[in-house]
Symmetry: D3
Subunit: 244 residues, 6 copies
């Protein structure tokens, strides 16, 4: 099973190659023995995603990266942003490769562990709220709890970040959240979800782990997204047909 | 009141300048006497939007076009695609200009005229379904009814198009649609909604007319989208502040 | 475009003709140059509407007023009460005249500006809650925030009223309201929504302005309510037919 | 236990006193031995209710009838129309008397017998649909099935009526209705629900029987509607206080 | 009308026969004069139900008790636990006997008295939340308010219990509950709902009274649960057929 | 990773040990190389589950089997029935072992592959419908499609079964199902989902594969169900404490 975790922007420029290597190592440690995972960032796109505007900027580079990943025989591509930018478009375009969004994966797995969830994330929450709506899990959704630290500075003072996450999580649990989902991949790679869960008294879902697990599961089961939901773009189909 | 209707792609290349002029004239004829409307297409982007992939391609050119429109003093920008691509991102970025999506506008106006709506549109419907979900009007939504003609060929045989629209609309009315929304701007500019409504026995909503009316209404009322929903992207705000 | 704003009760008896003239002037100032708006109250009905009981009392006078307004060629009637009493009945009865309710109009326009809304209004909220339900916007609804001042005394101490509205609005924003709707027409005609919006940090929707704009929009677009939703009462149709 | 079933209009003028006596006798036969039921119509109001317009006309006579019924010591008033016109207003006004609507009662009792319901009724269905929404049972609601016979002629040819009801019911059962509610009081007093249920293979709910049972249940349990939902109209309370 | 209230476990072992006799007397005092009610506990099953695990243990003894109750001509069996354990299974198995769950009955009756409800109960709330979901009344549901006293000790210090119930109820009313449902049968038989309602200012629903009233109502109306929802188990039907 | 798939009843008596061995082999072939899966049935319980009654009978044997499985160090128990009987109770009772229900797992995984799902299953559907409700996925649910063959005879004529499944699936796809879930574990172990998916043109989800994958995923991620949702039964906790 070959899985590629794609960060939709030039993150190595912003935080260095070591951080990507660190993430790749973590993913490998979480995977089954027969799974090959790698992490890749993209030459263009936003440095980090903290707005719907940046989410939109992330899509064209993902689209550009798709064909070579498919050609290399990658089984599943995980889009490395919680709000799942571009996942629908990539699913339309992909021919044999599975595309997984960590946001949708984490919300549904949280639903398998408790009755309701809250999401601890960074501003701005509108994209996350819309993901909850399109996944149709708003009936289980308590609220977002915001940690007001820029994404690229979350690791600068991990203790302060952890305190802020704890505070945001506790407020959500007090309002009825029976599970907490981390709504930011840079939070996910802090690898603190079990420590945070112990403090909060409820499971904390790591979207990176869960996206990896869902990708494995679907590849092993031979399951692909529905073509009724994500048909190939008609103009591309036509071109492909006339090229034959 | 200055309104600019922006077609997110090089439509004039595909169908000629005359079609843009025709659409501009129609919009002018629908507007109040003190409203100045113009139609503009963009140098890059998809020729037409028939997939989520093309929707995503339409956003960067819209983002690029925003500053000059704001600088020219345009009061409201209407995004010329029913599924409202880029509207959220543009609302984050706009400083004084209102951004209106015809899809959301048409669905809420339909809701003011009857208890339920169906949407007559071209494939593929997933983006339209997601718009219904994020507008939170799925409880009023009967279904989409598809007219299987490529967007750029809808005007080739208007009679055939009208017949196909009638058939799709009748099926939706039979399933309980108390109003019909046209879910494609090229259908809107056929200007056949009253004729179709007479055939179907229920109102047919033209998203171009309605988006224009909603833009007028909001400009006159001095209403802008909520900054709680669409805050400016933090990195841009920071840059702007450090540039001062 | 001829629009008549009808206050469903003898308001001039309670607060004097000057108040009606003031409201008419405000409406004129908000309208497009080719729109003719007038305000009219009715000889019978409740002095103000602060209960479902009074709402019901307001309907027969509205029904009585309908035929002459239609005969005069009025294009659109706006029912001057936020909870939209009688709108459905008037739509069944009207033959060519559009009937608009400010409550439904304001809730849907608020939905075009942000993800959720709260309603600042006077007691009692049950009718307002039911309007939210029948408009099917409960999924966007945070709550009502009550200003405990009788409707007819809202202008006695405008500053105190504004403070109470601010407090009610702030509580709703703290609970997640991304927009605020004024749920009382006497509040709407205080014309303070922009000042209140500046204090609250979110848009405040004036139902009088919005109802006017929606009436204009629908008249220009030639759109009428669905006859599938609001058919003419069968016994009246029969009478009309047998009278022919 | 004293219960009064009030028909909101001069039905005896339309169909004669015998029909009222027949209905009273039926209600008595359905009640517990210690329950005293009577049927009463009102001097004004619509002859029958087949539109929202007529529903609204029915309310003022009901309001007028309330004080004397309360003075006579009636424990519970049942409003004799399925769409529950005036129930909310009467609940605001009543001081000690319970007010029951047969529509809400029947929908909730149907919900105790099966997972979903359909409603067999006469046109026009918008008021019935709105009742389903305000009772918040739309998630259980399959659809209305219409019997196109004027209310006052349902008994003219009972066999034809029964056939039409059967057909409407079968179509709803085929679409998933696990119970059927009769949505018209004149259908209820045909007393055919068990025969119809045997044909359809699912329970058929008689709203007259159920409203009676619910009224009994609530009177015995000493339960009244919530004053948080139905507070007394403030102006009346003020008058009552200043009169003291 | 013969009604049997069955406590699904050996409660007399835990609290003595007197408590069962006390409950039977209360039920008799609430019933119509022609109703014969008795209370019965079962030889096996949990001593009290405070978990989903105990709920499940309660079902086989209920199933075992069913045939003899049916043979004795009991018209309706009320399952004496608020979360309605076994009701669906018993409905599948019963041939002529009505089975009523007090939880579903109380939630629907609360819905007839106000717009929203909260539930005052003992831990653990997951089963209660699931009942609200399967009754599809989550849209009216504010929350559970927990009284942290073991079920079998609720009567040890009735004043303390009443204070804890008041506190839990007040918190729910402050959050918008327009009615309160008691979510535990041992609370119901404290017979304090009117006193509690007076304190809280909203109706408090006693599930024992309401289940009794609903059972009466359905027996008098000759209504049984839908066989479309609760068909007889196919293997039992087959056995019965081959035994013939 | 040790996983035990438990069939809640004496299935080997009904269909022989070979069938259990066959299922175990299939599960092994689907699992990652480091996963150890075994299949076990139980000495008591129903022969198959085709009613809510039989579902309830399946729970006590599952409860009895739990402690020894935990003692043996099993990481995850999969309950071998689509409607997930006993999962909530087992989660309350389990101390370190994960409990997974194939129904919930399959519905959430289907939600990751398409916008809506239908369920092809055997009668009776009420338990399946309730699972959809408690998983809160009713908004994505099209309907159940029934294959009217007894569970234990599904393999008697596999071709006939496959035809019936195809027909049921096609009807659901025609009504808008974008994915199909197999709602019966004996269907799952026919291992025909890809062949069926090819016929239907949409993904067909095998609940056995998916439950296995979800169990793996959660064990690797170290995730357990929320104790806020599934707390240990208080009386057992008390006993355990007083035993210390």
């Amino acid at each position: 099973v070959q899985i590629c975790y794609v960060i939709p922007g030039p993150m190595s420029d912003a935080v260095g190659d070591a951080e990507l290597a660190r993430r790749e190592e973590m993913l490998r440690s979480w995977a089954a023995p027969d799974v090959d995972v790698r992490v890749q960032d993209l030459p263009t796109g936003p440095a980090s995603i903290e707005s719907i505007y940046e989410e939109q900027l992330a899509v064209p580079p993902l689209v550009d990266a798709l064909p070579s990943l498919e050609a290399e025989g990658v089984d599943a591509l995980i889009v490395g942003c919680f709000d799942d930018p571009g996942v629908d478009a990539l699913r339309e375009l992909a021919q044999r490769m599975l595309v997984v969004g960590p946001g949708a994966a984490a919300l549904h797995v949280a639903s398998l562990l408790g009755g309701s969830f809250g999401i601890v994330t960074v501003p701005n929450p509108t994209a996350t709220r819309k993901l909850v709506l399109t996944e149709r899990l708003d009936v289980r959704f308590v609220d977002v709890g915001l940690v007001d630290i820029p994404v690229l500075r979350l690791r600068d003072d991990i203790e302060a970040t952890f305190e802020a996450m704890t505070e945001a999580g506790q407020a959500l649990v007090a309002r009825g959240a029976e599970t907490i989902v981390l709504g930011c991949m840079s939070m996910a790679f802090l690898d603190v979800e079990h420590e945070l869960g112990a403090r909060l008294g409820v499971p904390v879902i790591n979207p990176a782990k869960v996206a990896l697990g869902v990708a494995e599961l679907l590849v092993r089961a031979g399951q692909m997204p529905s073509r009724a939901t994500f048909p190939p773009p008609p103009k591309l189909t036509e071109q492909a047909e006339s090229a034959r």
